[in-house]
């Protein structure tokens, strides 16, 4: 295949549309999971679930969206160093999030193990979210490496936009997961 020979003029619009289709599909995944949570355990949730910890997790992810947004803005202004700073901060917050989830899981295995209905749905939903978060982290790490190698410029700004949109999507999913698992 010859390079660049058949990229349509409106390709950015096509890419954006495709990403939204993927996000819609993923949203259905979490919609089904959340519906199962209510079918399974109604509005009951175990006392052991720590709402303050959940709020800390939420705050971490919201800040990570902000740092990524700053990085994206920096890249748009041609500042690759600013982009990398934003990426490093975001990746750091993402890893911190996973560590705290790990702490919460090890407590959860004692209080509401997988062999209870709430435990099953809790670990399935937070596990599915963590897998999405890990894939988001891999995308951000790849953006960092590409920026470091000088492979990102105006013609590839879509890669940053796509990575950021996906990360924000994983964030929004966390907000719904937090609401349904911790609050309701």
């Amino acid at each position: 295949m010859t390079a660049q020979a058949h990229v349509p003029e409106n390709y950015r619009e096509i890419q954006r549309y495709g990403l939204w289709m993927f996000i819609i599909s993923e949203a259905f995944l979490f919609a089904i999971l959340i519906a199962i949570r209510f079918i399974f355990t109604g509005l009951e949730r175990p006392e052991a679930l720590s709402i303050p910890l959940g709020l800390v997790l939420t705050a971490i992810l919201l800040s990570s969206s902000y740092t990524l947004h700053r990085g994206e803005k920096a890249a748009a202004a041609g500042d690759q160093v600013g982009l990398r700073a934003g990426l490093v901060l975001t990746i750091g917050l993402g890893i911190l999030f996973l560590v705290i989830v790990g702490v919460e899981w090890s407590a959860g295995f004692e209080e509401f193990p997988t062999s209870t209905p709430y435990g099953s749905i809790f670990f399935l939903i937070t596990g599915a979210h963590a897998l999405h978060l890990i894939s988001g982290l891999l995308v951000l790490a790849s953006l960092y490496l590409q920026s470091k190698a000088g492979a990102l410029d105006e013609s590839t700004e879509w890669k940053i936009e796509a990575g950021a949109k996906y990360w924000h999507f994983v964030d929004v999913i966390w907000l719904t997961v937090f609401t349904t698992l911790y609050i309701l």
Binding site: M1, T2, A3, Q4, A5, H6, V7, P8, N10, Y11, E13, I14, Q15, Y17, G18, L19, M21, F22, I24, S25, E26, F28, L29, I32, L33, I36, I39, F40, P113, T114, S115, T116, P117, G119, S120, I121, F123, L124, A128, S142, L145, Q146, S147, K148, A149, G150, A151, L152, T156, W158, K159, A162
Partner: protein, 624 residues
């Protein structure tokens, strides 16, 4: 997700010599499996669990091996290097090698899908022959009840995957971009990815037989699926993998059909086959997630000791059926809509008449897609104690006959007073109408709650869904093959062998499955290797008819091989059709059209003063 490589044209290409990349993919997959398995064992022994536990090791090992497989088959050089900021390399070998690596050309991928799924179809068809051999007389014949259900389950899941994927994978990929005048799919890399998911699916299903197999049928109902041998886990992993492929492909199909149409190709000029692919993709995009959830819950219960479907722990087994059918009923329309679209696409050129009621047919496709979301529990009438919701699902299910009727209206209206040109593709298209009528009418009995309570799990159900899925889906697959093979290979299939194939398949199919309605009414259960002695003579007839049906595919395979090598040259437009795929060479050049296509009229304006459907300007092409 960009379409092209950043490499200069003289960059080293991969896969042009030596072993095909698929072999390297298999090797890397093996290494990936070992890495994942050892990692799981290490973590399990660290946290104080037994290291040697088959199912967790298999799950993590499989995830690693799947990723390694993609990289090994060519995604590493063509895609993965870019993730590290290094230049990527083109994959552009010529000849047979281009089919055995991470090729992004939609025309190559279409042929990969076609050949791969015909092979799976033949393998699973052979299993059906063995099942009919078991049922040729009462009592144990060749393998007895346990093996019978294992073979039945494997036959079921492979055929379901073939029916879900074959037409949209092969012809959605090859033909749809041509029909809309696009130079490729929107996301060529995702397109290649969606195909290379399938060899691992096949490997898992075959591998499942080496760890004891599984006997739940293709539906994998709990609680049996939770206590079964490890083969059940392989089934779940294979089905989830297939679903991932469907989702990736669906993103691509929807984006391509919505965003990549040639200038002038407005919605009311869009060829009907493209309409059917678009709505098939929308169904896959939304509902496939449900099957991923249902099977993930089964795996969670098996591997992590979950409570989802174990009533002792507070789980709800019936929930599995709800989630499963929430995907799997729309999936039934994923199976037949592309074939119905292909049938409607084939009728106009072979009657030399416009497609009757084009907008009504599109409305039928949309109506079926919308209603398919609200009928799933009609598979569960005998499960639901709650008769009120059964009545609701009876109503929505019977309502589906209205949009289906619109598609029949378009088909019969197009045939009405037409001068039929009875070439093989047309014979198959007519068979789709005939078979799907029987399949649809017998479905009305099943949609009716009191009748279904009697017919549930009998051979009536077997006959009904074979009439819809084989009678419409698979006959539509062969209609598409005979219609578009000349475009894909540049050669016509042999007409005499094609007609022999058609008549044996059509008669064999009806002789096999019509008597099954009678067997079902007389109380013969499905998924049981034996039956009452008074049904023996009819079963013997059905088995012999089934073997007759099986023979037809020998003629097809022979025809395909011989014609691909030495068939009569097809020319650009052997059927005198008007849609855009016929306005380029057979097979098309790398970028599909020798110029810029522009749509100026109706795709099916036969026999009128209307202008052509499209023109291709700028190259050497003209108006067709």
């Amino acid at each position: 997700m960009a379409t092209t490589t950043d490499a200069p044209d003289d960059a080293p290409a991969i896969g042009s010599r030596g072993l095909p990349l698929a072999f390297r993919g298999a090797l890397w997959a093996g290494i990936g499996f070992l890495a994942g398995a050892l990692l799981t064992m290490a973590i399990r022994s660290l946290i104080g669990l037994s290291a040697m536990s088959l199912e967790p090791v298999v799950v993590v090992g499989y995830v690693f091996s799947l990723l390694a497989w993609f990289l090994g088959v060519g995604a590493w050089e063509t895609w993965g290097k870019g993730w590290l900021g290094r230049p990527t390399v083109a994959y552009s070998p010529s000849g047979w090698r281009r089919y055995f690596g991470f090729n992004m050309d939609h025309k190559v991928i279409g042929i990969q899908y076609a050949v791969f799924f015909i092979l799976l179809f033949l393998i699973a068809g052979l299993m059906a022959m063995f099942m009919r051999a078991e049922l040729i007389e009462t009592g144990r014949t060749i393998f007895g009840p346990a093996s019978y259900n294992r073979v039945m389950s494997l036959h079921g899941i492979i055929m379901v995957l073939v029916a879900v994927t074959a037409v949209s994978g092969a012809f959605g990929n090859y033909i749809m971009p041509l029909q809309i005048g696009a130079k490729d799919m929107a996301f060529p890399r995702l397109n290649a990815l969606s195909f290379w998911f399938w060899p691992p699916v096949a490997a898992l299903l075959i591998g499942s037989q080496f760890v004891g197999g599984w006997d739940t049928g293709w539906t994998g109902y709990v609680p049996l699926a939770e206590v079964n041998r490890p083969g059940q886990l392989f089934y779940a992993l294979a089905f989830i993998t297939a679903g991932l492929s469907s989702i990736v492909a669906a993103v691509n199909f929807v984006t391509t059909a919505v965003k990549m149409r040639a200038p002038g190709l407005t919605w009311n000029r869009l060829p009907i086959f493209t309409w059917s692919i678009l709505f098939t993709a929308i169904l896959s995009l939304i509902f496939t997630q449900a099957i991923a959830v249902a099977l993930s819950m089964t795996i969670f219960d098996r591997v992590a000791g979950g409570a989802f479907f174990d009533p002792v722990l507070g789980g709800i087994p019936v929930l599995y059926q709800h989630i499963f059918w929430f995907y799997s009923h729309p999936a039934v329309y994923v199976m037949v809509l592309p074939s119905l679209g292909a049938m409607l696409e084939i009728l106009p050129p072979f009657t030399r008449k416009p497609l009757f009621g084009y907008k009504w047919a599109v409305g039928g496709i949309i109506g079926i897609s919308v209603l398919s979301a609200v009928v799933w529990a009609h598979h569960m009438y005998t499960v639901n104690a709650d008769s009120v919701s059964n009545i609701g699902f009876m109503f929505t299910t019977e309502a589906i006959s209205v949009p289906t009727g619109l598609i029949f209206l378009a088909a019969v209206g197009t045939l009405w007073r037409g001068r039929l040109w009875l070439k093989t593709p047309m014979l198959f298209a007519l068979a789709v109408i005939f078979n799907f009528l029987i399949g649809g009418v017998t479905g009305v009995f099943l949609s009716d709650v009191p009748a279904d309570v009697q017919l549930q799990d009998t051979f009536w159900v077997v006959a009904h869904f074979h009439y819809t899925i084989v009678g419409a889906g698979i006959f539509g697959l062969f209609a598409s093959i005979y219609y578009w093979f000349p475009k894909m290979t540049g050669r016509l299939l042999n007409e005499r062998l094609g007609k022999i194939h058609f008549w044996i398949m059509f008669l064999g199919f009806n002789l096999t499955f019509l008597p099954m309605f009678w067997l079902g009414l007389n109380g013969m259960n499905r998924r049981v290797a034996d039956y009452q002695p008074n049904l023996e003579s009819v079963n013997r007839f059905v088995s012999l008819a089934g073997f007759f049906l099986g023979i037809s595919f020998i003629f097809f395979v022979w025809n395909a091989i011989v014609s691909w090598r030495n068939g009569e040259p097809a020319g650009d437009n052997p059927w005198g059709a008007r849609t855009l795929e016929w306005m380029t060479t057979s097979p098309p050049p790398e970028l599909n059209f020798d110029g810029e296509p522009e749509v100026i009229g109706d795709p099916y304006g036969f026999g009128s003063e209307q202008p052509a459907h499209a023109t291709v300007t700028g190259g050497n092409g003209g108006t067709a």
